[in-house]
Amino acid sequence: MSLVRVDALHKSFGHLEVLKGIDLKVSAGEVVSIIGRSGSGKSTFLRCLNQLEQHDSGRIEINGQVLDANSMAPALLSENVGMVFQNFNLFPHKTVGENVMLAPMIVRGEREREASRLARRMLERVGLADRFDAWPEQLSGGQQQRVAIARALAMSPKVLLCDEITSALDPELVGDVLKVLEQLARDGMTLILVTHEMSFARDVGSRVVFMHQGRIHEQGDSREVLSQPRTPELQQFLSAVR
């Protein structure tokens, strides 16, 4: 059974139809890289998966639950889907540890001691256990992004969505973040990433989805798709980004 199942997903902003019918199935443990030009709808699609954008029609099912932002409390959604953003979005008035502890305490009602222990474990996973008491502004971009990953993991989501999470980083910091993702993938985490890191998509990703003009234009095993693109649009795109 698929962990994520999307059928005929449509989304428009005003008169602009951004998603023109997306179908996608993702199994547990898969690492799916969504690539495509800006404006192809990839970020909107990702944001529909956790209802930051509400789709107009179609159906999204994650872990057996049909998503509907109107009837669904955010707390319920966060049990299934975690998200990491391009700009980290750490809470600046909370320490690294408090950032990670917040949702477990507020949403899940954990006590401070449990939450703190959990936060330390999560920070260890991203290699930042020693920065528990630091403020976000004291960290490099790469470290902040790893804290954001730890924060998302603390809610133990079934799927982790990553929206261009290395795009705002200095080149030398990208590697550390990708290494964390690679480890997550090895641990069996289901990842759906919008990314421009083609080598990561090829080496770590299990599948590549190429979006073009609001549709999935081509998809398949990441090595195959990236080395032997079938459609001219993907060929063109790949030659442009390389």
Partner: protein, 226 residues
Amino acid sequence: MAMALDFSALAPYGGEVAAGVATTISLTAVATLVGITAASVLAWLKLNGPAGVRWGIQAYVELVRNTPFIVQLFFIFFGLPALGVSLEAWVAALIAMTMNLTAYATEIVRAGIESIGKGQLEAARVLGLSRRQTYRHVVLVPALRKIYPALTNQCIIVMLGSAVISQISVEELTWAANFIASRNFRNFEAYILATLIYLALSIGMRQLFRLAGWHFLGGRQGRPSS
């Protein structure tokens, strides 16, 4: 004619002055605490509440911001008894000061809330926080931090503005100065003393706000600029 200043003429009225200062400070303290708390709630409701609530808050804010404080005070103290609501002078003064501060502070806090980036709200949302939890834990402190200098000023303005509540016979600092002047005709000395005390209260209040900001809005993060 040269005028000789004689501050010793004020000495017999030390008790009145001290009581006046105490009244000014207590009324300001309560108005500030209640006002900031109420404004934090109203500002959120003004942005997120149902239409009727938003409209009601807007009407209240505009009413207070576009009328003189002394008229608001007279309305509460002299006007309300016509509706059968008779208040003691200090209660009427406290209500007027609190309502006045709340209205201005609501607008100030609203500006702070609106300055918080969408990314913060989305991060909170995907972590599962409800809108109210997001406001309480993610938005409020950074928002207050951003508008803290303006909020401090507004509270000081209310403290200084409390001088007019002597008009309804609340025995605060200005009342004490009036009282002295009417007894010994030492107007100059009495109002110099009042001026200096108001100045000291303003400076003290600003320091207190700085300490409070440092404490409640976060240690090294308490800098108003960050």
